[in-house]
Protein backbone atom coordinates (compact mmCIF):
# COMPACT_ATOMS: atom_id res chain seq x y z
CA UNK A 1 0.00 0.00 0.00
CA UNK A 2 1.52 3.29 -1.01
CA UNK A 3 2.05 5.91 1.61
CA UNK A 4 0.55 9.33 1.01
CA UNK A 5 1.49 11.21 4.12
CA UNK A 6 3.44 11.10 7.31
CA UNK A 7 2.72 12.81 10.58
CA UNK A 8 5.36 12.90 13.28
CA UNK A 9 4.66 15.76 15.65
CA UNK A 10 4.46 16.70 19.28
CA UNK A 11 2.47 19.56 20.77
CA UNK A 12 1.29 21.08 23.98
CA UNK A 13 -2.31 21.17 25.24
CA UNK A 14 -2.22 23.21 28.41
CA UNK A 15 0.15 21.37 30.71
CA UNK A 16 0.03 18.17 28.71
CA UNK A 17 2.26 16.96 25.94
CA UNK A 18 0.70 15.36 22.87
CA UNK A 19 2.44 13.05 20.46
CA UNK A 20 1.45 11.59 17.11
CA UNK A 21 3.38 9.40 14.75
CA UNK A 22 1.64 7.64 11.88
CA UNK A 23 1.45 7.24 8.13
CA UNK A 24 -1.53 8.36 6.11
CA UNK A 25 -2.61 5.72 3.64
CA UNK A 26 -4.97 6.04 0.67
CA UNK A 27 -8.64 5.39 1.31
CA UNK A 28 -10.45 6.11 4.55
CA UNK A 29 -8.52 6.21 7.77
CA UNK A 30 -10.37 6.26 11.07
CA UNK A 31 -8.77 8.30 13.84
CA UNK A 32 -10.44 6.61 16.75
CA UNK A 33 -10.30 7.15 20.48
CA UNK A 34 -12.40 8.18 23.46
CA UNK A 35 -13.57 11.78 23.98
CA UNK A 36 -10.79 13.98 25.24
CA UNK A 37 -8.10 11.91 23.51
CA UNK A 38 -7.05 14.96 21.50
CA UNK A 39 -8.44 13.89 18.14
CA UNK A 40 -9.85 17.29 17.16
CA UNK A 41 -6.65 19.02 18.25
CA UNK A 42 -4.66 16.61 16.11
CA UNK A 43 -6.88 17.44 13.13
CA UNK A 44 -6.30 21.16 13.72
CA UNK A 45 -2.56 20.59 13.88
CA UNK A 46 -2.60 18.71 10.58
CA UNK A 47 -4.60 21.48 8.88
CA UNK A 48 -2.28 24.12 10.28
CA UNK A 49 -4.92 25.89 12.34
CA UNK A 50 -2.68 25.20 15.31
CA UNK A 51 1.07 24.80 15.33
CA UNK A 52 2.86 21.77 16.78
CA UNK A 53 5.84 22.34 19.06
CA UNK A 54 8.00 20.28 16.82
CA UNK A 55 8.20 17.54 14.25
CA UNK A 56 7.22 17.12 10.63
CA UNK A 57 4.08 16.76 8.55
CA UNK A 58 4.42 15.55 4.97
CA UNK A 59 1.65 15.08 2.42
CA UNK A 60 2.05 13.84 -1.16
CA UNK A 61 5.78 14.42 -0.88
CA UNK A 62 5.40 18.04 0.21
CA UNK A 63 6.73 19.13 3.57
CA UNK A 64 3.87 21.05 5.21
CA UNK A 65 5.51 21.47 8.57
CA UNK A 66 9.07 21.00 9.68
CA UNK A 67 10.24 22.62 12.89
CA UNK A 68 13.93 22.09 12.04
CA UNK A 69 13.70 23.64 8.59
CA UNK A 70 11.33 26.31 9.84
CA UNK A 71 8.66 25.25 7.37
CA UNK A 72 5.03 25.95 8.25
CA UNK A 73 2.80 26.06 5.18
CA UNK A 74 -0.25 28.27 5.69
CA UNK A 75 -3.61 26.53 6.19
CA UNK A 76 -5.05 27.88 2.95
CA UNK A 77 -2.08 26.51 0.99
CA UNK A 78 -2.16 23.02 2.50
CA UNK A 79 -5.20 21.76 0.61
CA UNK A 80 -6.46 19.86 3.62
CA UNK A 81 -10.18 20.43 4.00
CA UNK A 82 -11.80 20.13 7.39
CA UNK A 83 -15.46 19.44 8.11
CA UNK A 84 -15.99 20.33 11.77
CA UNK A 85 -18.67 18.73 13.92
CA UNK A 86 -20.95 21.73 13.60
CA UNK A 87 -20.58 21.66 9.78
CA UNK A 88 -19.93 25.42 9.78
CA UNK A 89 -21.89 26.23 6.65
CA UNK A 90 -21.55 29.98 6.17
CA UNK A 91 -24.87 31.36 7.45
CA UNK A 92 -24.93 34.41 5.19
CA UNK A 93 -24.82 32.34 2.01
CA UNK A 94 -27.20 29.95 0.28
CA UNK A 95 -26.31 26.26 0.16
CA UNK A 96 -25.11 26.68 -3.42
CA UNK A 97 -22.95 29.68 -2.52
CA UNK A 98 -21.41 27.57 0.22
CA UNK A 99 -20.61 24.79 -2.21
CA UNK A 100 -19.00 27.11 -4.73
CA UNK A 101 -17.00 29.00 -2.10
CA UNK A 102 -13.82 26.94 -2.44
CA UNK A 103 -14.88 24.91 -5.46
CA UNK A 104 -12.10 23.71 -7.76
CA UNK A 105 -14.11 21.09 -9.69
CA UNK A 106 -16.41 21.69 -12.61
CA UNK A 107 -20.10 22.33 -12.26
CA UNK A 108 -21.26 18.96 -13.67
CA UNK A 109 -19.10 17.04 -11.26
CA UNK A 110 -20.32 19.20 -8.37
CA UNK A 111 -23.94 18.63 -9.33
CA UNK A 112 -23.27 14.89 -9.55
CA UNK A 113 -21.89 14.94 -6.01
CA UNK A 114 -24.92 16.93 -4.79
CA UNK A 115 -27.17 14.34 -6.40
CA UNK A 116 -25.43 11.52 -4.55
CA UNK A 117 -25.57 13.36 -1.26
CA UNK A 118 -29.25 14.12 -1.76
CA UNK A 119 -28.85 17.88 -1.51
CA UNK A 120 -29.50 18.74 -5.14
CA UNK A 121 -32.94 20.19 -4.34
CA UNK A 122 -31.56 22.29 -1.48
CA UNK A 123 -29.14 24.40 -3.47
CA UNK A 124 -31.21 27.58 -3.28
CA UNK A 125 -32.08 27.15 0.38
CA UNK A 126 -30.63 29.36 3.06
CA UNK A 127 -28.44 27.53 5.52
CA UNK A 128 -30.87 27.98 8.43
CA UNK A 129 -33.65 26.36 6.45
CA UNK A 130 -32.03 22.92 6.15
CA UNK A 131 -31.67 20.17 8.76
CA UNK A 132 -28.51 19.26 10.65
CA UNK A 133 -27.99 16.11 8.60
CA UNK A 134 -28.44 18.00 5.34
CA UNK A 135 -26.03 20.67 6.52
CA UNK A 136 -23.44 18.03 7.28
CA UNK A 137 -23.81 16.43 3.85
CA UNK A 138 -23.52 19.84 2.23
CA UNK A 139 -20.42 20.59 4.30
CA UNK A 140 -18.84 17.32 3.16
CA UNK A 141 -19.60 18.06 -0.50
CA UNK A 142 -18.27 21.62 -0.06
CA UNK A 143 -15.03 20.16 1.28
CA UNK A 144 -14.69 17.54 -1.48
CA UNK A 145 -15.42 20.22 -4.10
CA UNK A 146 -12.33 22.11 -2.96
CA UNK A 147 -10.36 19.11 -4.31
CA UNK A 148 -8.31 18.65 -1.15
CA UNK A 149 -5.38 16.28 -0.91
CA UNK A 150 -6.77 15.16 2.41
CA UNK A 151 -10.32 15.48 3.72
CA UNK A 152 -10.73 15.49 7.49
CA UNK A 153 -14.20 14.69 8.87
CA UNK A 154 -14.70 15.37 12.55
CA UNK A 155 -17.28 12.91 13.92
CA UNK A 156 -19.42 12.96 10.77
CA UNK A 157 -22.03 10.58 12.20
CA UNK A 158 -22.44 12.41 15.49
CA UNK A 159 -25.99 13.32 16.39
CA UNK A 160 -27.58 11.44 13.49
CA UNK A 161 -30.28 8.84 14.05
CA UNK A 162 -29.39 5.24 13.15
CA UNK A 163 -30.89 5.41 9.68
CA UNK A 164 -29.15 8.68 8.77
CA UNK A 165 -25.98 7.31 10.33
CA UNK A 166 -26.01 4.33 7.97
CA UNK A 167 -26.73 6.60 5.03
CA UNK A 168 -23.88 8.89 6.00
CA UNK A 169 -21.47 5.96 6.29
CA UNK A 170 -22.55 4.73 2.86
CA UNK A 171 -22.11 8.21 1.43
CA UNK A 172 -18.60 8.65 2.83
CA UNK A 173 -17.58 5.19 1.67
CA UNK A 174 -19.07 5.72 -1.78
CA UNK A 175 -17.55 9.18 -2.24
CA UNK A 176 -14.12 7.93 -1.27
CA UNK A 177 -14.43 4.98 -3.64
CA UNK A 178 -15.53 7.01 -6.64
CA UNK A 179 -13.40 10.12 -6.18
CA UNK A 180 -10.36 8.40 -4.70
CA UNK A 181 -10.50 11.02 -1.99
CA UNK A 182 -8.15 10.32 0.92
CA UNK A 183 -10.14 10.76 4.11
CA UNK A 184 -9.22 11.01 7.77
CA UNK A 185 -12.38 10.36 9.77
CA UNK A 186 -12.46 11.19 13.45
CA UNK A 187 -14.72 8.93 15.46
CA UNK A 188 -15.17 7.43 18.89
CA UNK A 189 -17.42 4.63 17.70
CA UNK A 190 -15.95 1.26 16.83
CA UNK A 191 -18.96 0.52 14.62
CA UNK A 192 -18.19 3.51 12.40
CA UNK A 193 -14.56 2.53 12.10
CA UNK A 194 -15.38 -1.09 11.31
CA UNK A 195 -18.02 -0.19 8.77
CA UNK A 196 -16.26 2.50 6.82
CA UNK A 197 -12.53 2.59 7.32
CA UNK A 198 -9.69 0.96 5.45
CA UNK A 199 -7.09 1.98 7.98
CA UNK A 200 -7.13 3.05 11.57
CA UNK A 201 -5.14 5.17 13.97
CA UNK A 202 -5.74 4.71 17.68
CA UNK A 203 -5.59 7.74 19.90
CA UNK A 204 -5.69 7.95 23.66
CA UNK A 205 -4.34 10.42 26.19
CA UNK A 206 -2.98 12.75 23.49
CA UNK A 207 -0.98 9.94 21.93
CA UNK A 208 -1.60 8.58 18.44
CA UNK A 209 0.96 5.96 17.46
CA UNK A 210 -0.86 2.68 16.81
CA UNK A 211 -1.77 2.75 13.15
CA UNK A 212 -2.13 0.56 10.08
CA UNK A 213 -4.67 -1.36 8.01
CA UNK A 214 -7.96 -1.78 9.84
CA UNK A 215 -7.77 -5.50 10.53
CA UNK A 216 -4.26 -5.22 11.91
CA UNK A 217 -5.18 -2.40 14.23
CA UNK A 218 -8.41 -4.11 15.21
CA UNK A 219 -6.54 -7.27 16.16
CA UNK A 220 -4.27 -5.35 18.56
CA UNK A 221 -5.07 -5.83 22.24
CA UNK A 222 -4.97 -2.04 22.78
CA UNK A 223 -7.96 -1.65 20.48
CA UNK A 224 -10.53 -3.63 22.41
CA UNK A 225 -9.22 -2.19 25.65
CA UNK A 226 -9.42 1.37 24.39
CA UNK A 227 -12.68 1.18 22.52
CA UNK A 228 -14.54 -0.71 25.21
CA UNK A 229 -16.12 -2.86 22.53
CA UNK A 230 -19.48 -4.08 23.72
CA UNK A 231 -18.42 -7.59 22.83
CA UNK A 232 -15.14 -9.14 21.89
CA UNK A 233 -15.10 -10.39 18.35
CA UNK A 234 -13.29 -10.39 15.08
CA UNK A 235 -13.60 -8.39 11.91
CA UNK A 236 -13.42 -10.42 8.73
CA UNK A 237 -13.18 -8.79 5.34
CA UNK A 238 -14.13 -11.37 2.73
CA UNK A 239 -15.51 -11.67 -0.76
CA UNK A 240 -18.88 -13.22 -1.61
CA UNK A 241 -18.17 -16.35 -3.63
CA UNK A 242 -21.37 -18.39 -3.59
CA UNK A 243 -25.16 -18.16 -3.28
CA UNK A 244 -27.50 -21.01 -2.27
CA UNK A 245 -30.84 -21.46 -0.56
CA UNK A 246 -31.25 -17.82 0.46
CA UNK A 247 -27.73 -17.63 1.78
CA UNK A 248 -24.49 -16.18 0.57
CA UNK A 249 -21.14 -17.80 1.06
CA UNK A 250 -17.83 -16.07 1.70
CA UNK A 251 -14.62 -17.86 0.97
CA UNK A 252 -12.36 -18.41 3.95
CA UNK A 253 -9.39 -20.22 2.49
CA UNK A 254 -10.89 -23.43 1.08
CA UNK A 255 -13.92 -23.23 3.39
CA UNK A 256 -17.09 -21.19 3.18
CA UNK A 257 -18.72 -19.01 5.79
CA UNK A 258 -22.47 -18.81 5.18
CA UNK A 259 -24.73 -15.95 6.15
CA UNK A 260 -28.20 -14.67 5.24
CA UNK A 261 -28.49 -13.23 1.73
CA UNK A 262 -28.99 -9.46 1.64
CA UNK A 263 -28.90 -9.32 -2.14
CA UNK A 264 -25.26 -8.46 -2.76
CA UNK A 265 -23.65 -9.53 -6.00
CA UNK A 266 -21.13 -12.33 -6.10
CA UNK A 267 -17.68 -10.78 -5.97
CA UNK A 268 -18.75 -8.04 -3.53
CA UNK A 269 -16.38 -7.37 -0.67
CA UNK A 270 -18.12 -7.54 2.68
CA UNK A 271 -17.16 -6.77 6.24
CA UNK A 272 -18.32 -9.31 8.74
CA UNK A 273 -18.25 -9.20 12.48
CA UNK A 274 -18.27 -12.46 14.39
CA UNK A 275 -18.60 -12.08 18.13
CA UNK A 276 -16.59 -14.40 20.36
CA UNK A 277 -19.68 -15.36 22.36
CA UNK A 278 -21.42 -16.54 19.16
CA UNK A 279 -18.69 -19.06 18.36
CA UNK A 280 -18.96 -22.53 19.91
CA UNK A 281 -16.23 -25.13 19.71
CA UNK A 282 -16.39 -28.81 18.73
CA UNK A 283 -13.55 -31.29 18.46
CA UNK A 284 -15.03 -32.89 15.36
CA UNK A 285 -17.69 -32.16 12.78
CA UNK A 286 -21.18 -32.57 14.16
CA UNK A 287 -24.18 -34.01 12.30
CA UNK A 288 -27.78 -33.23 13.08
CA UNK A 289 -27.28 -29.66 14.24
CA UNK A 290 -28.84 -26.44 12.96
CA UNK A 291 -25.56 -24.55 12.99
CA UNK A 292 -24.56 -24.22 9.36
CA UNK A 293 -21.00 -23.02 9.67
CA UNK A 294 -18.47 -25.49 10.94
CA UNK A 295 -15.11 -23.94 10.18
CA UNK A 296 -12.02 -26.04 10.65
CA UNK A 297 -9.51 -23.99 12.61
CA UNK A 298 -6.21 -24.20 14.38
CA UNK A 299 -6.43 -23.20 18.04
CA UNK A 300 -3.48 -20.86 18.31
CA UNK A 301 -3.93 -19.26 21.69
CA UNK A 302 -5.84 -19.80 24.93
CA UNK A 303 -6.41 -16.77 27.08
CA UNK A 304 -7.94 -17.50 30.49
CA UNK A 305 -9.92 -14.58 31.85
CA UNK A 306 -11.84 -13.88 34.98
CA UNK A 307 -15.12 -14.75 33.32
CA UNK A 308 -14.57 -17.43 30.73
CA UNK A 309 -11.78 -18.21 28.35
CA UNK A 310 -10.99 -16.63 25.01
CA UNK A 311 -9.74 -18.93 22.30
CA UNK A 312 -7.90 -17.48 19.33
CA UNK A 313 -8.56 -19.49 16.18
CA UNK A 314 -7.09 -19.36 12.70
CA UNK A 315 -9.35 -20.94 10.03
CA UNK A 316 -7.26 -23.42 8.10
CA UNK A 317 -5.90 -22.06 4.85
CA UNK A 318 -6.25 -18.40 5.92
CA UNK A 319 -4.41 -15.80 7.92
CA UNK A 320 -7.69 -14.57 9.41
CA UNK A 321 -8.62 -14.71 13.05
CA UNK A 322 -11.73 -15.86 14.84
CA UNK A 323 -12.22 -15.79 18.55
CA UNK A 324 -14.44 -17.90 20.73
CA UNK A 325 -15.42 -17.30 24.32
CA UNK A 326 -16.18 -20.48 26.29
CA UNK A 327 -16.36 -21.32 29.97
CA UNK A 328 -13.47 -22.79 31.94
CA UNK A 329 -15.59 -25.89 32.39
CA UNK A 330 -15.88 -26.45 28.63
CA UNK A 331 -12.18 -25.87 28.25
CA UNK A 332 -11.47 -28.65 30.76
CA UNK A 333 -14.19 -30.96 29.45
CA UNK A 334 -12.85 -30.76 25.91
CA UNK A 335 -9.24 -30.95 27.04
CA UNK A 336 -8.25 -28.18 24.62
CA UNK A 337 -4.66 -27.13 24.18
CA UNK A 338 -2.86 -24.77 21.83
CA UNK A 339 -2.14 -26.35 18.45
CA UNK A 340 -5.31 -28.47 18.40
CA UNK A 341 -7.51 -28.62 15.37
CA UNK A 342 -11.06 -27.62 16.31
CA UNK A 343 -14.32 -26.72 14.56
CA UNK A 344 -15.75 -23.26 15.10
CA UNK A 345 -19.55 -23.52 15.12
CA UNK A 346 -21.11 -20.27 13.99
CA UNK A 347 -24.81 -19.75 13.39
CA UNK A 348 -25.29 -18.07 10.04
CA UNK A 349 -27.62 -15.50 11.58
CA UNK A 350 -24.93 -14.57 14.11
CA UNK A 351 -22.61 -13.33 11.35
CA UNK A 352 -23.18 -9.60 11.34
CA UNK A 353 -22.61 -7.82 8.09
CA UNK A 354 -21.16 -4.38 8.68
CA UNK A 355 -22.22 -2.48 5.66
CA UNK A 356 -24.13 0.70 5.42
CA UNK A 357 -26.25 -0.42 2.49
CA UNK A 358 -25.75 -3.46 0.28
CA UNK A 359 -25.00 -1.55 -2.91
CA UNK A 360 -22.49 0.99 -1.68
CA UNK A 361 -20.52 -1.59 0.25
CA UNK A 362 -18.92 -2.83 -2.92
CA UNK A 363 -15.28 -1.88 -2.81
CA UNK A 364 -13.69 -0.44 -5.89
Amino acid sequence: MSMRGQVDIHWRTGELEGFAQFNLLPGITALIGPSGAGKTTLARLITGLEAPKGGTITLDGQRLFDSRENIDVRTDKRMIALVPQDSALFPHMSVYENLSFGCRIDEDLLMGLCERAGIRNLLDARVHEISGGEARRAAIIRAIASAPRLLILDEPMNGLDPKRRREMMALIRGLSDTTGQMVLMITHQAEEMLTVADNAILMDGLRATVHGPLQQVFARPETSELLDLDDAGELIIATISDRQDGMIGCALGGQTLWLPDDGEDIGTKVRLRVLARDVAIAKQRIEGISVINQIECCLVHINKRRRGTDLMLVPNGTDLHLSSRITARSLTALGLKEGDTVYALIKAVAVKELVATPKSASGS
Partner: protein
Protein backbone atom coordinates in the same frame (compact mmCIF):
# COMPACT_ATOMS: atom_id res chain seq x y z
CA UNK B 1 -42.29 75.70 6.01
CA UNK B 2 -38.53 75.47 6.33
CA UNK B 3 -36.40 78.61 5.97
CA UNK B 4 -33.35 78.94 3.74
CA UNK B 5 -31.26 79.39 6.85
CA UNK B 6 -32.54 76.18 8.38
CA UNK B 7 -32.19 74.31 5.10
CA UNK B 8 -28.56 75.46 4.78
CA UNK B 9 -27.75 74.25 8.29
CA UNK B 10 -29.55 70.94 7.68
CA UNK B 11 -27.79 70.34 4.34
CA UNK B 12 -24.43 71.25 5.81
CA UNK B 13 -25.03 68.95 8.76
CA UNK B 14 -25.80 66.06 6.44
CA UNK B 15 -22.77 66.79 4.29
CA UNK B 16 -20.47 67.02 7.30
CA UNK B 17 -21.86 63.94 9.00
CA UNK B 18 -21.83 61.81 5.83
CA UNK B 19 -18.22 62.69 5.13
CA UNK B 20 -17.26 62.20 8.76
CA UNK B 21 -18.82 58.73 8.73
CA UNK B 22 -17.38 57.74 5.35
CA UNK B 23 -13.94 58.88 6.46
CA UNK B 24 -14.07 57.06 9.77
CA UNK B 25 -15.72 53.83 8.64
CA UNK B 26 -12.88 52.11 6.72
CA UNK B 27 -10.33 53.05 9.36
CA UNK B 28 -12.70 51.96 12.12
CA UNK B 29 -13.23 48.56 10.41
CA UNK B 30 -9.49 48.09 10.02
CA UNK B 31 -8.68 49.10 13.60
CA UNK B 32 -11.59 47.08 15.01
CA UNK B 33 -10.44 43.99 13.10
CA UNK B 34 -6.87 44.36 14.36
CA UNK B 35 -8.07 44.90 17.92
CA UNK B 36 -10.45 41.92 17.75
CA UNK B 37 -8.02 39.44 16.22
CA UNK B 38 -4.48 40.29 17.14
CA UNK B 39 -2.40 40.59 20.25
CA UNK B 40 0.64 42.82 20.15
CA UNK B 41 2.83 44.89 22.42
CA UNK B 42 1.23 48.21 23.32
CA UNK B 43 -2.31 47.03 22.59
CA UNK B 44 -3.58 48.40 25.89
CA UNK B 45 -1.96 51.77 25.26
CA UNK B 46 -3.56 51.91 21.82
CA UNK B 47 -6.89 51.00 23.37
CA UNK B 48 -6.67 53.92 25.80
CA UNK B 49 -5.71 56.28 23.00
CA UNK B 50 -8.62 55.05 20.83
CA UNK B 51 -11.11 55.67 23.59
CA UNK B 52 -9.75 59.11 24.42
CA UNK B 53 -12.35 61.05 22.38
CA UNK B 54 -15.08 59.37 24.45
CA UNK B 55 -13.81 60.69 27.76
CA UNK B 56 -11.80 63.81 26.91
CA UNK B 57 -13.98 66.95 26.67
CA UNK B 58 -14.78 67.56 22.98
CA UNK B 59 -13.45 71.09 23.32
CA UNK B 60 -10.04 69.64 24.07
CA UNK B 61 -10.16 67.53 20.92
CA UNK B 62 -11.12 70.60 18.90
CA UNK B 63 -8.35 72.57 20.53
CA UNK B 64 -5.78 69.87 19.70
CA UNK B 65 -6.94 69.93 16.08
CA UNK B 66 -6.70 73.68 16.05
CA UNK B 67 -3.15 73.88 17.39
CA UNK B 68 -1.91 71.13 15.06
CA UNK B 69 -3.79 71.95 11.85
CA UNK B 70 -4.47 75.70 11.92
CA UNK B 71 -2.71 77.63 9.11
CA UNK B 72 -0.38 79.32 11.59
CA UNK B 73 1.25 75.97 12.48
CA UNK B 74 3.94 74.32 10.37
CA UNK B 75 1.81 71.35 9.35
CA UNK B 76 -1.25 73.54 8.84
CA UNK B 77 0.73 75.91 6.65
CA UNK B 78 1.89 73.01 4.52
CA UNK B 79 -1.68 71.73 4.19
CA UNK B 80 -2.74 75.28 3.23
CA UNK B 81 -0.03 75.40 0.55
CA UNK B 82 -1.36 72.24 -1.12
CA UNK B 83 -4.93 73.47 -0.72
CA UNK B 84 -6.03 70.91 1.84
CA UNK B 85 -6.31 73.03 4.96
CA UNK B 86 -9.39 72.00 6.91
CA UNK B 87 -9.39 74.93 9.30
CA UNK B 88 -12.57 77.03 9.28
CA UNK B 89 -14.06 74.97 6.47
CA UNK B 90 -16.77 72.32 6.41
CA UNK B 91 -14.02 69.74 5.81
CA UNK B 92 -12.65 70.66 9.22
CA UNK B 93 -16.07 70.10 10.74
CA UNK B 94 -16.16 66.69 9.07
CA UNK B 95 -12.73 65.86 10.45
CA UNK B 96 -13.68 66.91 13.98
CA UNK B 97 -17.00 65.01 13.93
CA UNK B 98 -15.39 61.99 12.34
CA UNK B 99 -12.81 61.90 15.10
CA UNK B 100 -15.49 62.10 17.77
CA UNK B 101 -17.54 59.35 16.14
CA UNK B 102 -14.54 57.08 15.55
CA UNK B 103 -14.22 55.35 18.98
CA UNK B 104 -17.94 54.58 19.08
CA UNK B 105 -17.73 52.93 15.68
CA UNK B 106 -14.60 50.97 16.54
CA UNK B 107 -16.26 49.67 19.68
CA UNK B 108 -19.39 48.45 17.94
CA UNK B 109 -17.56 46.93 14.96
CA UNK B 110 -15.04 45.23 17.20
CA UNK B 111 -17.84 43.56 19.12
CA UNK B 112 -19.27 42.30 15.84
CA UNK B 113 -15.92 40.80 14.82
CA UNK B 114 -15.46 39.25 18.23
CA UNK B 115 -18.92 37.70 18.12
CA UNK B 116 -18.10 35.80 14.91
CA UNK B 117 -17.42 32.11 15.72
CA UNK B 118 -13.92 31.35 14.51
CA UNK B 119 -15.00 28.07 12.97
CA UNK B 120 -16.31 29.87 9.85
CA UNK B 121 -13.07 31.55 8.97
CA UNK B 122 -11.07 28.47 9.89
CA UNK B 123 -13.15 26.32 7.55
CA UNK B 124 -12.78 28.97 4.83
CA UNK B 125 -8.99 28.72 5.19
CA UNK B 126 -9.06 24.92 4.96
CA UNK B 127 -11.10 25.28 1.76
CA UNK B 128 -8.16 27.18 0.30
CA UNK B 129 -9.42 30.76 0.69
CA UNK B 130 -6.64 33.24 1.46
CA UNK B 131 -6.88 35.25 4.70
CA UNK B 132 -7.77 38.29 2.58
CA UNK B 133 -10.60 36.49 0.77
CA UNK B 134 -11.74 35.02 4.06
CA UNK B 135 -12.00 38.52 5.48
CA UNK B 136 -14.01 39.86 2.54
CA UNK B 137 -16.28 36.87 2.04
CA UNK B 138 -16.74 35.64 5.60
CA UNK B 139 -15.77 38.00 8.43
CA UNK B 140 -16.95 41.25 6.86
CA UNK B 141 -20.40 39.99 5.76
CA UNK B 142 -20.93 38.26 9.09
CA UNK B 143 -20.08 41.50 10.90
CA UNK B 144 -22.35 43.50 8.59
CA UNK B 145 -25.27 44.01 11.01
CA UNK B 146 -22.78 45.29 13.59
CA UNK B 147 -21.06 47.50 11.03
CA UNK B 148 -24.41 48.96 9.98
CA UNK B 149 -25.41 49.87 13.48
CA UNK B 150 -21.93 51.25 14.11
CA UNK B 151 -22.35 53.43 11.04
CA UNK B 152 -25.70 54.72 12.25
CA UNK B 153 -24.27 55.39 15.69
CA UNK B 154 -21.29 57.20 14.19
CA UNK B 155 -23.51 59.21 11.87
CA UNK B 156 -25.81 60.27 14.68
CA UNK B 157 -22.82 61.19 16.81
CA UNK B 158 -21.32 63.20 13.93
CA UNK B 159 -24.60 65.10 13.34
CA UNK B 160 -24.72 66.01 17.01
CA UNK B 161 -21.07 67.00 17.30
CA UNK B 162 -20.68 70.46 18.82
CA UNK B 163 -17.68 71.13 21.07
CA UNK B 164 -14.83 69.95 18.90
CA UNK B 165 -16.38 71.51 15.80
CA UNK B 166 -17.01 74.97 17.19
CA UNK B 167 -13.50 75.05 18.68
CA UNK B 168 -11.77 73.91 15.53
CA UNK B 169 -13.71 75.54 12.69
CA UNK B 170 -15.76 78.20 14.56
CA UNK B 171 -19.42 78.96 13.90
CA UNK B 172 -19.65 80.51 10.43
CA UNK B 173 -23.17 80.50 8.91
CA UNK B 174 -23.26 78.70 5.56
CA UNK B 175 -19.67 77.53 5.97
CA UNK B 176 -19.26 75.67 9.22
CA UNK B 177 -22.56 76.26 10.97
CA UNK B 178 -24.14 72.85 11.36
CA UNK B 179 -27.51 72.31 13.07
CA UNK B 180 -26.22 72.19 16.65
CA UNK B 181 -24.13 75.28 16.06
CA UNK B 182 -27.08 77.10 14.53
CA UNK B 183 -29.21 76.04 17.48
CA UNK B 184 -26.57 77.39 19.84
CA UNK B 185 -26.54 80.75 18.00
CA UNK B 186 -30.32 80.97 18.01
CA UNK B 187 -30.50 80.16 21.69
CA UNK B 188 -27.92 82.87 22.37
CA UNK B 189 -29.72 85.64 20.50
CA UNK B 190 -32.61 87.51 22.12
CA UNK B 191 -36.00 86.51 20.68
CA UNK B 192 -34.56 83.41 19.02
CA UNK B 193 -36.54 80.94 21.15
CA UNK B 194 -38.90 79.89 18.36
CA UNK B 195 -36.05 79.46 15.88
CA UNK B 196 -34.12 77.45 18.48
CA UNK B 197 -37.09 75.17 19.05
CA UNK B 198 -37.49 74.52 15.33
CA UNK B 199 -33.76 73.77 14.98
CA UNK B 200 -33.88 71.42 17.94
CA UNK B 201 -36.67 69.50 16.21
CA UNK B 202 -34.68 69.44 12.98
CA UNK B 203 -31.71 67.93 14.88
CA UNK B 204 -33.85 64.90 15.63
CA UNK B 205 -34.48 64.13 11.94
CA UNK B 206 -31.02 62.83 10.95
CA UNK B 207 -30.42 61.22 14.34
CA UNK B 208 -33.61 59.19 14.51
CA UNK B 209 -33.61 58.65 10.75
CA UNK B 210 -30.19 57.05 10.78
CA UNK B 211 -31.08 54.77 13.65
CA UNK B 212 -34.24 53.65 11.88
CA UNK B 213 -32.42 52.97 8.62
CA UNK B 214 -29.67 50.99 10.32
CA UNK B 215 -32.14 48.98 12.37
CA UNK B 216 -34.02 48.10 9.20
CA UNK B 217 -30.84 47.13 7.33
CA UNK B 218 -29.43 44.97 10.08
CA UNK B 219 -32.79 43.32 10.66
CA UNK B 220 -32.83 42.41 6.99
CA UNK B 221 -29.28 41.04 7.17
CA UNK B 222 -30.14 38.98 10.24
CA UNK B 223 -33.36 37.66 8.75
CA UNK B 224 -31.45 36.48 5.69
CA UNK B 225 -29.47 34.13 7.89
CA UNK B 226 -32.38 33.13 10.08
CA UNK B 227 -31.42 34.98 13.22
CA UNK B 228 -34.43 37.19 13.55
Amino acid sequence: MISDFELAALTLSFKVAIWATLLSLPVAILVAHVMARRTFAGKTALEVLLHAPLVVPPVVIGYILLVTLAPNTAFGAWLESIGLSPAFKWQGAALASGLMAFPLMVRAIRQAFEAEPKTYREVALTLGASPWRTFWRISLPLALPGILSATALGFARAVGEFGATITFVANIPGLTQTLPLALYSAAQSPGGEAAAARLALLCLVPAIGSLAVSEWLSRRARRKRGLA
